[in-house]
């Protein structure tokens, strides 16, 4: 039961951080492009990749704390529902280019960021092990 409370508490922090990022980063660069959600999703993808191959692999923190940070904090910081609704809103406003770019950049950029974090984390982990 305690792990649920930990995940929930970390989820509060993740959701609030995402809310603030979305307020601070105005839609810009391209008319209507949801830069706030996009930024949170890219940052979160990188950080979760790094966290998984480095911090989780090092096993220096208790498993419930690792779950709380990975699933609760980082998982709640990023969002898929807002991404989906924003894409439909762009399509309904006739902003086809922005909608296409949003989906494409989320798909490819998210994998790139997660992959980058994954490899960077693994490198740091191996350095830490050999040191």
């Amino acid at each position: 039961m305690g792990i649920y409370l930990l995940v929930g508490a970390a989820g509060m922090a993740g959701a609030l951080l995402r809310y603030y990022v979305s307020i601070m980063i105005e839609p810009g660069w391209m008319s209507g492009f949801p830069l706030g959600t996009f930024s949170a999703n890219m940052i979160g993808s990188f950080v979760l990749g790094w966290f998984t191959t480095c911090i989780v692999a090092l096993k220096k923190m208790p498993p419930p704390v690792l779950k709380a940070i990975g699933t609760g904090l980082i998982g709640s910081f990023t969002t898929f529902s807002t991404f989906s609704v924003e894409t439909v809103e762009l399509l309904q406003q006739g902003l086809w280019e922005a909608a296409f770019l949003y989906v494409f950049l989320s798909l490819a950029g998210g994998m790139l960021m997660a992959g980058l974090g994954y490899h960077v984390g693994h490198l740091i982990y191996r350095k830490g092990k050999s040191a």
Binding site: I3, Y4, V7, G8, A9, A10, G11, M12, A13, G14, A15, L16, R18, Y19, S22, N41, G44, S45, V47, L48, G49, T52, K67, G70, T71, G72, I74, G75, S76, F77, T78, T79, F80, S81, T82, F83, S84, V85, T87, V88, L91, V103, S106, L107, G110, M111, M113, A114, G115, Y118
Partner: protein
Amino acid sequence: MILNSVLVLIGGFFGAVSRFGVSQWMNPRFSSAFPVATLAVNLSGAFLLGLLVGSGIGEMWLRLLGTGFMGAFTTFSTFKLENIELLAEKKWKLLIGYLAASYIGGVFLAFIGMTIGLL
């Protein structure tokens, strides 16, 4: 601002707990390489957020149930990490299927939700 933050905090707590609960319940029951739990929360969350936005509920409800609950219930980072894991294991078909189901399904279900919400 402060009230909105509190609403996002409360929603975020229950959203994260619910997502964790779904994954705890589903993962032992579907021991496949396909990440069913993440797909289930992301698709149902996209539909439900569409429903909320479409129905035009007020700003406060949107912060509590939308930004807070649905935002935390669904996840992008875990989805992308699972993409990378499928890629690393060279499970191409699963990866393509996961990407297609998530993006096409998510946008389609959000659209259906928003349309029903307008009724």
